[in-house]
């Protein structure tokens, strides 16, 4: 029973990292296949939100034949309600750098990039210092790996991996058609591993303590711990490392203000869970636990009863309308229609049944949009409209 499952704090990510040199030296002396197996058996899944198995990702790129490959750390953290990656990069940068280098060793890449969102420009000087120190050590141990920072310039969509490549190539950050996938054709058309900051930090944990320590945390399909960015109507906003698989009820008990009406799990592109479903919702990847299981990049936004869900949805849709890259029809036009549509219903210019038309539209967007942005608008839209239909109309 998940309801009895206690919220378990974990302390891996931010634990001191004075031993990164040791971990690096040790890891690059292990066979790539061994490291891949370690990751696979840890069942670590991508912490950016999509949850692709990290070991498999590294494996595919390792198998791709090419003299040039890249490792990219995705630090374009833009999902509303997410701020964990910034903390990782400012508090434990060496874990991320080490993980990138180990990945380089595994797949055969000599160059790594950190794509840092423009909003985090202030992190750059410190991060650069860390990179200099890191590269110095690499040279010392005769390990050929360099890391550069690539700055974003204010575009949420660049967090989508292929849009990020486009952006790094000096173009508009528009997602590509897939296939081909990054593991065979990523940045500059070369095999590329692109991992979220937190994912990389977890690989450090795994390489340091072994897969089992990580695997033992969490539940089936959702192993390990995860950083949660907690914000909204909560007395203790901030970043918490928690075991995966927790129930939302426990979470709200810990972080709510006693009047929590709903929680948005996974940011604007995630789901809104109303109070009545807290007990049956677990936080983790696919695979039903007791009710609904929600993946997340770690954004947990709490809303208390003073909040209008219409305003919340309006804010999200405004966000998507602006941050869609605009290339594909369902996303570009769909977002505009959804935003205009809910306003029209609210003003009484369209009747309440129009919400159903919009719900069907989000379904189409989910089926047909070119990338995750357009596909996931449906998540928040349908979960808000279905659970708070009254608020949308009156």
């Amino acid at each position: 029973m998940t309801t009895n499952y206690l919220l378990k704090r974990v302390d891996f990510i931010f634990k001191n990292e004075n031993d990164w040199e040791v971990i690096l030296s040790k890891s690059i002396n292990r066979a790539p296949q061994e490291l891949i197996n370690e990751l696979i058996s840890s069942e670590l899944k991508g912490r950016g939100g999509a949850g692709f198995p990290t070991g498999l990702k590294w494996k595919l790129s390792a198998e791709a034949v090419n003299a040039i490959k890249y490792v990219i750390c995705n630090a374009d953290e833009g999902e509303p309600g997410t701020f964990k990656d910034r903390e990782i990069l400012s508090r434990v940068p060496f874990k991320v750098l080490t993980a990138m280098a180990v990945c380089g060793h595994v797949i055969g890449a000599k160059e790594g990039y950190i794509y840092l969102r423009g909003e985090y420009h202030f992190l750059r000087p410190e991060l650069n210092k860390a990179i200099v120190e890191f590269e110095y050590y690499c040279k010392e141990i005769k390990f050929d790996f360099s890391i550069k920072i690539f700055m974003g310039s204010g575009a949420y969509i660049c967090g989508e991996e292929t849009a990020l490549f486009e952006s790094m190539e000096g173009k508009r950050g528009e997602p590509r058609n897939k296939p081909p996938f990054p593991s065979t054709s990523g940045y500059m058309g070369k095999p590329t591993v692109i991992n979220n900051v937190e994912t990389l930090a977890h690989t450090f944990t795994i390489f340091k303590y072994g897969a089992k320590r990580f695997y033992d945390l969490g539940v089936q399909y959702s192993r390990g711990s995860k950083l949660f960015s907690v914000s909204g109507d909560t007395p203790k906003p901030g970043i918490y490392e928690l075991e995966l698989g927790m129930s939302l009820e426990d979470f709200v008990e810990e972080f709510g203000d006693g009047d929590t009406k709903a929680v948005q799990v996974g940011g604007a592109s995630g789901f809104l869970v109303p109070r009545k479903r807290f007990h049956e919702t677990a936080i983790g990847f696919q695979g039903k636990l007791t009710g609904i299981s929600l993946p997340t990049g770690g954004s947990m936004m709490l809303f208390n009863s003073s909040r209008s869900m219409f305003n919340v949805l309006d804010n999200y849709l405004e966000f998507f309308r602006e941050e869609s890259c605009g290339q594909c029809t369902p996303c570009r036009v769909g977002c505009q229609q959804l935003l205009k549509g809910i306003k029209a219903v609210k003003r009484g210019e369209k009747n309440a049944q129009y919400l159903d038309k919009l719900l069907r539209l989000t379904e189409t967007m989910q089926y047909t949009a070119k990338c995750g942005l357009g596909q996931s608008v449906a998540n928040s839209f349908s979960s808000i409209v279905e659970n708070f239909r009254e608020e949308m109309i009156y």
């Binding site: 953290e77 833009g78 999902e79 509303p80 309600g81 997410t82 701020f83 910034r86 969102r117 423009g118 909003e119 985090y120 420009h121 202030f122 690539f150 700055m151 974003g152 310039s153 204010g154 575009a155 949420y156 952006s167 790094m168 190539e169 000096g170 173009k171 508009r172 950050g173 500059m188 960015s229 907690v230 914000s231 909204g232 109507d233 906003p237 901030g238 970043i239 948005q264 604007a268 954004s299 936004m301 809303f303 909040r307 305003n311 919340v312 804010n315 999200y316 405004e318 966000f319 602006e322 941050e323 890259c325």
Partner: protein, 155 residues
């Protein structure tokens, strides 16, 4: 020679002249000039041997690469959900009141431009804003007045 032309040449020397260095060069110009003028974009196109339209198309994709004249200090106040919930509007009003400009405008002395932006990643310390690259969080109308005053005194 025009200082912008020099700047662009230097940036191109530093980063390289291939397409993949376009963004750092655009950012470098914005860092210095606060925005990309038509002239700057033409010069960048010339320097990198790119079509000017491509430079324009790329630059306008990114919301931090302004292409209209901006003030010395660009204030970007976060308008995404948590900041909105935590009093962004009052903060915005305070700024507008103090600088006597509305959103999207620049003060007549060319010192401040006021813009909104999407999630800055400071939801736990909302509301937040950027002034150029500096972050300010947990803003209140009172706090923002102090911050702006300190900028005004800088001149």
């Amino acid at each position: 020679m025009n200082p912008v032309t020099d700047l662009i040449k230097n940036l191109a020397d530093e980063y390289g002249r291939e397409r993949q260095h376009l963004l750092p060069i655009l950012q470098g110009v914005v860092e210095q000039e606060k925005y990309l003028s038509e002239f700057s974009m033409v010069e960048i196109a010339r320097e990198l041997d790119l079509p000017a339209s491509e430079v324009y198309g790329t630059a306008t994709f990114y919301s931090f690469l302004e292409y209209k004249k901006m003030g010395r200090y660009i204030i970007r106040i976060c308008k995404t959900i948590t900041c909105s919930m935590k009093g962004k509007n009052q903060v915005l009003l305070a700024i507008e009141d103090m600088l006597k400009i509305s959103l999207g405008e620049t003060t007549p002395d060319g010192n401040f431009s006021l813009l909104q932006t999407n999630c800055l990643g400071f939801c736990h310390k909302a509301p937040a804003m950027l002034i150029n690259n500096e972050v300010y969080t947990e803003l209140t109308p009172e706090k923002v007045r102090d911050i702006l005053s300190s900028y005004m005194k800088k001149q």
